[in-house]
């Protein structure tokens, strides 16, 4: 009875709020269909999927898919690659972005506009196009890098079959495409700092370098932490295009370029091993969630205001 009353009560509230609810309903449906319905699909990882029987009708296999996945060498390889490469990208990327952001803030208006445009540009290109650009540099027979090396009497390298160079190549490509964008985020943070701080400091005889250390950096620190949390929280998710199009999906390079995302994609669409794919995919989702919560927790320890939730 009490439940019925509560429902009736809620219904009354709902009727009052219904116009706003219906305004947002189409968006809620899209979010539900594309984000929440797949959550039900997580059970696929615990099943031996047989399309004839449907998702629910297929046989349960418990943790067997995970056993296969973690007993394969792939699990270690893709975990290591994902963490090391993305970790490097975050550390080096944010470091260079801060430097470039600080230096941009030292320039006068006209020059800022020009360099800002150039720095931002690669961010607008898709990974497919960037893949073409890197191919021009790395092509073993016609590539620019090998031609230059020839002129210095160095032996040409077959880049697409030498895995050891790829951590560096991927990092440089990542920087080329993304550093400008992040640098501009820092730059917009820097120019919003009240100019009177700097005026006061220079009256007191502080050098430009001291001003940067004591004013600029502390004032953009929250922005830095925010970007670090967001990135570390997503460290287990990779930018698929970078890891798929730049190494051109070359099998010889998997030992250093294969990450969880590319592995899941291949298992699903190329190999067709749904069990492996869904186990790896759920592994990623769970670790990803844990990482978001733990980074946020750590940040909240240090500074409550900087935590996201």
């Amino acid at each position: 009875m009490a439940v019925m009353k509560a429902i009736r009560n809620e219904w009354k509230h709902f009727l009052k709020a219904k116009s706003l609810f219906f305004i947002s309903l189409p968006a809620l449906i899209v979010v539900f269909v594309f984000y929440y319905m797949p959550m039900y699909g997580i059970i696929i990882a615990f099943k031996d999927i047989n399309y004839a029987k449907g998702i629910w009708g297929s046989d349960w296999v418990g943790f067997k898919n995970f056993e296969f996945f973690f007993n394969s060498q792939d699990a270690f390889r893709i975990t290591r690659n994902t963490l090391l490469l993305n970790g490097t990208f975050i550390a080096i990327g944010i470091f260079f972005s801060i430097i470039i952001g600080l230096l941009l803030a030292e320039l006068g208006r006209g020059l800022v506009k020009i360099f800002q445009t150039i720095l931002f540009f690669p961010y607008f290109l898709s990974w497919v196009v960037v893949g073409f650009v890197s191919y021009i540099l790395l092509n073993p027979s016609f590539g620019v890098i090998n031609k230059v090396m020839e002129q210095f009497h160095l032996t040409a390298v077959d880049w697409y079959s030498e895995p050891k160079y790829w951590p560096i190549i991927l990092t440089l490509t990542y920087l080329w495409k993304n550093v400008g964008y992040t640098a501009i985020i820092f730059f917009t943070g820097l120019i919003s700092i009240d100019a009177s701080y700097y005026e006061a400091a220079s009256i007191d005889g502080a050098t430009r370098f001291q001003q940067i250390r004591k004013i600029s950096i502390p004032l953009i620190a929250p922005l830095i932490t925010l970007l670090v949390i967001l990135n570390v929280g997503r460290i287990f998710y990779s930018d698929f295009g970078l890891f798929y199009f730049i190494p051109r999906d070359a099998g010889m390079l998997y030992s250093t370029t294969d990450v969880v995302d590319t592995y899941v994609f291949r298992s699903l669409r190329v190999v067709g091993d749904l069990g492996m794919a869904s186990a790896a995919s759920l592994y990623q989702a769970v670790v990803g969630l844990v990482l978001v919560f733990s980074t946020n927790l750590i940040v909240r320890r240090f500074n409550k205001d900087n935590a996201i939730f």
Binding site: L20, P38, F124, S134, A195, S281
Partner: protein, 295 residues
């Protein structure tokens, strides 16, 4: 923020030099793409890729424009997807962001949580793929290229950040004047949100224009292949160019300027972005500022 006076100071030559070097590193690889697209394949075979072509030719472009069916088709798909997708995404994103900002709305908090939780936990590729193909059956339709990006929690956050700064009194006074919620939203909130709509719209347009991922997952139908995915397939297999261009007619592969054609298509795919970019930039940077301040 208004106090950010443009600090007019002399440019330090070392810093200027630094940025000139960085700019060269960014621009040179792109110039190579242009140069290769204008080269003869014979010259490429002989000298490798050159920053300045030995001899300039527009053969690759004329070849592409002679048999443009597949290229035009994928252009058409990309333009359609970008146009429909951007409008649809803006409608969805602004409406849901608006109800989140209404503190008097009973379900505003739960709506916010419902959308932002998707940032924290994502079921992953396999379940999404299975649901899309086996439950929704959107594979090989244009909707597969649009709907999965319909509402981005990120852009909703950006939009909400902006709408939060609108004075609530406007909504209240509209209510007193007897305006319905939908009317208030469409006639008052939307016009006031134009800067945010421009910024978020550009981010969405960029995402749709540059997308190959959804096509790679869900599209097998040759007629529905968007530009970026078309480009990717040509990269892995130049024969795809001839096959799709002239189905059934066998042509001599050595006739095609393969190396230069590839790069020419890359330029045609990135070109529109290149021209639109200077106009976008102002809004995008504005968007970054909103995002940065609101977090």
């Amino acid at each position: 923020m208004q106090k950010a006076v443009a600090r007019e100071r002399k440019n330090n030559p070392v810093i200027v030099l630094f940025f000139i070097l960085v700019s060269i590193l960014i621009i040179i690889p792109l110039l190579y793409v242009v140069s290769v697209s204008l080269s003869y394949d014979g010259d490429i075979a002989r000298y490798g890729y050159k920053l300045i072509p030995e001899r300039i030719t527009f053969k690759a472009y004329s070849y592409l424009f002679q048999t443009p069916k597949a290229l035009l088709q994928s252009y058409f798909i990309t333009v359609t997807v970008t146009a429909i997708g951007t409008v649809l995404s803006l409608v969805l994103t602004s409406s849901v962001a608006y109800v989140m900002t209404r503190k008097d709305y009973r379900y505003s908090k739960i709506t916010t949580f419902f959308v932002f939780f998707t940032l924290l936990f994502n079921a992953g590729l396999v379940p999404s793929y299975i649901i899309a193909t086996n439950v929704l059956h959107i594979q090989n339709t244009i909707w597969a290229l649009i709907l999965p990006y319909g509402v981005s929690a990120w852009f909703t956050m950006l939009m909400k950040g902006f709408m939060d700064s609108l004075p609530f009194e406007i909504v209240e006074s509209a209510k007193i004047d007897g305006s319905s919620e939908l009317n208030t939203f469409l006639r008052i909130i939307i016009p006031l949100s134009k800067p945010a709509l421009a910024t978020v719209g550009l981010f969405y347009a960029l995402a749709y224009w540059n997308d190959w991922w959804l096509a790679m997952l869900y599209i097998q139908d040759e007629r529905l292949i968007p530009l970026q995915y078309y480009l990717q397939r040509i990269m892995s297999n130049i024969e795809f160019l001839t096959k799709s261009v002239q189905a059934g007619i066998s042509i001599d592969l050595s006739e095609i300027p393969a190396e230069s054609s590839r790069m020419a298509i890359a330029i045609l795919a990135a070109g529109p972005m290149l021209f639109a970019f200077p106009f976008f930039q102002k809004y995008l940077i504005k968007g970054l500022t909103v995002g940065a301040v609101k977090g």
